[in-house]
């Protein structure tokens, strides 16, 4: 098989796969969310509480430096409180 035919096939497969991906993506977005799951894709405190990935689009604190700073301060305060409690116990 000549090289140009192989390249043509490769490009053809790529185009077909890209078309399938785009169609499936559009259909997925257009499909209505099931009943009871309407709030599911929106970020919430309950869902993102345990997750550290603030780079995630679903995260409530996505790219929010103020919230990140608040979290750090809160963590430090909790740690200090814990240390004080331990000192008192000792």
């Amino acid at each position: 098989m000549p090289d140009w035919v192989r390249w043509l096939l490769a490009v053809g497969i790529l185009v077909v796969l890209l078309a399938i991906f785009i169609i499936s993506f559009v259909l997925y977005r257009k499909t209505p969310v099931p009943k009871g799951c309407e709030e599911f894709e929106k970020p919430s405190e309950a869902k993102c509480h345990g997750c550290n990935q603030t780079e995630c689009h679903f995260n409530l604190y996505y790219n929010d430096p103020v919230e990140k700073a608040k979290e750090e301060v809160q963590q430090e305060q909790t740690e200090e409180q814990r240390q004080e409690t331990q000192k008192e116990e000792n």
């Binding site: 098989m1 192989r6 497969i13 790529l14 796969l17 991906f21 799951c37 550290n52 995630c56």
Partner: protein, 201 residues
């Protein structure tokens, strides 16, 4: 493959091997981002593991025939990685679409993790490894099943360890991701203990 050993035994040994000895996270170091990101909440870790299991098996099921019956006969095996990426991404969208439409319960169980799997390199690693090693269809499936179960086991164990770690006082420099990575390293060393469990021949 040893012809004296029944196929089912080889199949099961391949699953155990990919699950524990060649663990996808701790030995091959794939899927670290989801391992660290989601591995601090057991419920989330289990949902993520479930979604990874589902997609990995489906991807292996679809990609092996594409490579063997399309890419190889057409003499374009260099297209494999690109093809797998697009196939996995499309597969996730299509499966997600059906789940969204017909199974709200499953949609709730997988949560936001199903779309996130598209970027999980563990899935691509398994599929690529299957064709690069020239595995048969059965062995590819064993590898996919074992890898997926191994991922679930490790991420769930890791999430419980991290919960325990949060209860103890950690030096400031080690807090958060640092201690998580050290824990992962120790787990990796522990999993080295499984090497040699399954004979290579």
């Amino acid at each position: 493959m040893n012809p004296a050993v029944p196929y089912i035994v080889t199949f099961l040994l391949a699953i155990v091997s990919s699950m524990l000895i060649d663990n996808v996270v701790l030995s091959r170091f794939y899927g670290i981002c989801s391992f660290i990101g989601v591995g601090n909440k057991p419920k989330a870790a289990f949902s993520m593991g479930l979604a990874v299991t589902f997609v990995t098996i489906m991807a292996a099921l679809v990609c092996w025939p594409i490579y063997t019956f399309v890419l190889q006969p057409l003499q374009i095996p260099f297209m494999d990685t690109l093809t797998y990426i697009l196939v996995i991404a499309s597969l996730v969208q299509i499966v997600g679409l059906f789940i969204k439409k017909y199974s709200p319960a499953l949609y709730k169980a997988f949560g936001i993790y199903l779309p996130l799997i598209t970027t999980n390199c563990a899935v691509l690693g398994v599929v690529q490894g299957n064709t690069d090693s020239g595995l048969s269809f059965g062995m590819s499936m064993a590898n996919a099943i074992g890898t997926a179960i191994g991922f679930v086991i490790v991420i769930v164990i890791f999430s419980f360890i991290r919960i325990r770690l949060e209860e103890y006082k950690t030096p400031k420099a080690f807090r958060g991701i640092a201690i998580a990575l050290i824990t992962a390293a120790l787990m990796s060393i522990a999993f080295l203990g499984f090497s040699g469990m399954v004979p290579s021949n």
